[in-house]
């Protein structure tokens, strides 16, 4: 009862036209500071940015309810991904992680918001910037970091590395730009064929949006009314090329032409969540595919070999960090609306850091996979055979 009252109070304090950052009166903050744990509001309603629509009469709602539990969960998830990526950056610079490594920090609201709006039984496929999705689809941090360091305990047994991570109902982790998009339509066909009320979320970047096979896939998906949400994560740069330089139309949500589309604030988790709920409902109701453009930003360069400042300014990055950081946005909303206290969130930060440190410890001490793995998993359902190679004294037997 008390909680409900507080929630009501919170809504009142918030006022009818709270800005995106949850601009609540300062009074609320003062009140929060003197409260105990049980005094938090159980939920609050926020205005979120209206999505731009393409071939849709109505779009997702312009308000979203965030419960305290949800908020804490989202905060922890986003903070974990952020810290995990920063740790990966560090391990890379120590040359413990090698090869190609694409970090997701800055874009956390996309994967967390998406996951909050679909079912675990739904399917998801993305490109090579896959760490965040690997985590939101249920893989522990230690397995992700161990995959990055190429260890046995990695989520792909140490055989995939940064670009190739997989989990249940998560089809990776794909290296060639745009190549995963047709796969997503295939997965969506399976959803429809088996009649399980499942959908496939097919992600690609603004760079991949210019690949021909993306358009081939739009056509198939629309033709066969496949339950597929195409999501263009537009982080403004395809490697070093800004979207304006690469695309004749940067209205990525319209580029499906005959496929309805939404342009979503990808830095706001609630916006992503509400839009995805809307899109998922569209797919589940049998209307066929829908396209979403998530406007987001990556803080790191394209990959570890790209310092990320030769084609954009430090000021630009700094401005996004200070004005639209997805974690700060959520944090401010929660604190300003009495959903959580600063101290409490700090405790979460400490907990997250500890988890990341432990995961990194595992990822640097876990053994590398045994050498037999070099030749395993080449063909399935085949009896073991000797892999052809150049050498008489190093022979590898394939395993299924």
């Amino acid at each position: 009862m008390r909680k409900m009252l507080l929630a009501a109070l919170s809504r009142v304090l918030q006022g009818p036209a709270a800005a995106r950052t949850g601009a609540v009166s300062e009074v609320a903050q003062v009140v929060v500071a003197s409260r105990t744990y049980a005094d938090f509001a159980s939920e609050a309603t926020f205005e979120i940015k209206k999505c731009d629509l393409h071939r849709l009469e109505e779009g997702p709602p312009v308000t979203a309810v965030l419960t305290r539990e949800e908020g804490l969960h989202y905060y922890k998830t986003m903070q974990t991904i952020r810290r995990m990526e920063l740790k990966a950056d560090q391990l890379y610079k120590q040359k413990i992680i090698r090869g190609f490594c694409h970090l997701y920090d800055g874009q956390e609201a996309c994967c967390v918001g998406l996951e909050a709006a679909i079912n675990p039984t739904d399917h998801l496929i993305t490109a090579y910037r896959a760490h965040g999705y690997t985590f939101t689809r249920g893989t522990p941090v230690r397995e992700i970091l161990a995959e990055l360091t190429g260890r046995k305990g990695g989520c792909a047994k140490g055989k995939g590395g940064s670009m190739h991570m997989y989990a249940k109902n998560f089809y990776g982790g794909n290296g060639i730009v745009g190549a995963q998009v047709p796969l997503g339509a295939g997965i969506a066909l399976a959803c429809k064929y088996f009649g399980k009320d499942e959908i496939c979320v097919t992600l690609y970047g603004d760079g991949a949006a210019n690949q021909g096979q993306v358009f081939e896939t739009y056509n198939m998906a629309a033709l066969w009314k496949l339950p597929c949400i195409f999501i263009c994560e537009n982080n403004r740069y395809g490697m070093g090329t800004s979207v304006e330089r690469a695309a004749a139309s940067t209205d990525y949500y319209k580029r499906g032409d005959y496929i309805p589309g939404l342009r979503v604030d990808g830095m706001d988790l609630l916006c992503v969540r509400e839009a995805t709920k809307f899109a998922a409902e569209h797919c589940r109701s049998g209307k066929g595919p829908i396209l979403m453009e998530l406007q987001t930003y990556r803080y790191h360069g394209h990959s570890m070999s790209d310092p990320g400042i030769s084609y954009r300014t430090r000021e630009e990055i700094q401005e996004v960090r200070s004005k639209s950081d997805p974690i700060t946005l959520l944090k401010d909303r929660m604190v300003n609306n009495n959903l959580a206290s600063v101290e409490e969130l700090k405790e979460i930060d400490v907990e997250v850091r500890k988890e990341i440190e432990e995961a990194a410890q595992f990822a640097t001490t876990d053994p590398e996979p045994p050498l037999e793995e070099l030749s395993s998993h080449i063909y399935c359902n085949e009896p073991p055979f000797e892999v052809r190679g150049p050498n008489q004294w190093i022979r590898y037997k394939s395993a299924c």
Binding site: F100, G161, V177, I378, R388
Partner: protein, 365 residues
Amino acid sequence: GPPTPATMAAMGLRRAAVAALEGGLLGRVPAPSAVAARRHAAHFTFQPDPAPSAHGQTQKMNLFQSITSALDNALAKDPTAVIFGEDVAFGGVFRCTVGLRDKYGKDRVFNTPLCEQGIVGFGIGVAVTGATAIAEIQFADYIFPAFDQIVNEAAKYRYRSGDLFNCGSLTIRAPWGCVGHGALYHSQSPEAFFAHCPGIKVQLIFLDLLACIRVETLCFLEQVPVEPYYIPLSQAEVLQEGSDVTMVAWGTQVHVIKEVATMAQEKLGVSCEIIDLKTILPWDTETVCKSVVKTGRLLISHEAPLTGGFAAEISSTVQEECFLNLEAPISRVCGYDTPFPHIFEPFYIPDKWKCYDALRQMINY
């Protein structure tokens, strides 16, 4: 006739190529730990070629600078030459086009969207009008979306139009080969796929293009002529003369077999002839066969998997041409028939020990 700028650009690539990740962009990361240092040791020792004397004064450049130099020459000589590809306007991820946009303008050196099939098809269109098109595919591993455009469209254009059209002035550059940590999608050697492109007559016009697909990996210093220069395609280079075994390789692997030759000389007293094949198609059968007639033994080494690799073609041709000269079966030291592995790269690659072992067996045959 005089070399066309396009072939000169191709030449730059033949000699050299794309900067390595190690030496290039990734080189900026801090010093590694001792363990990491071991893991990062290159699998070969680079040995620079002696400075060429045929083309006048030379200047020391690394491989990617020599490509830039060749492209620079091409743009300077040929007003129709244009360079395009992903991020090339900024110098490219391998820094092969640094400064060219500023020098020649953004209408001649420009970025494309991320669309390999489109890039190559577009290049064919540019070339078929008679202009010189120089396309970059960022990694050879990314070239497969463009496979159709290359093998079906570019390769057959002249043949199927009865010579009304051709796209011989199209050059496609793509860096290939292992770099120590490239894993499944940044390490492959796709030369054999292209060497198998059907229609031999067609491949004659395809020549420039194919020659360029075989680019380099690591970043080292070589002496490069200051003035524009031309090196013919389809001409292998005998880097070291020898009498007992012929060793053929291309790309980075040349440096591996050079080291093997030294080991063989020191440990076994075996004299090796080293050939850098340089062009895959049409390849220089004469130089290779001549050498095998002399030595009676042939070892071919490439990073691509064994089965169906280009070594198979060389081996087959040489056994036909030199059957009675052979003292031992031809040996192929190649990658394993597995996808290019991530952390197992040191076990996968045909390193000097594998080559040395194969060589020893040939001697003892």
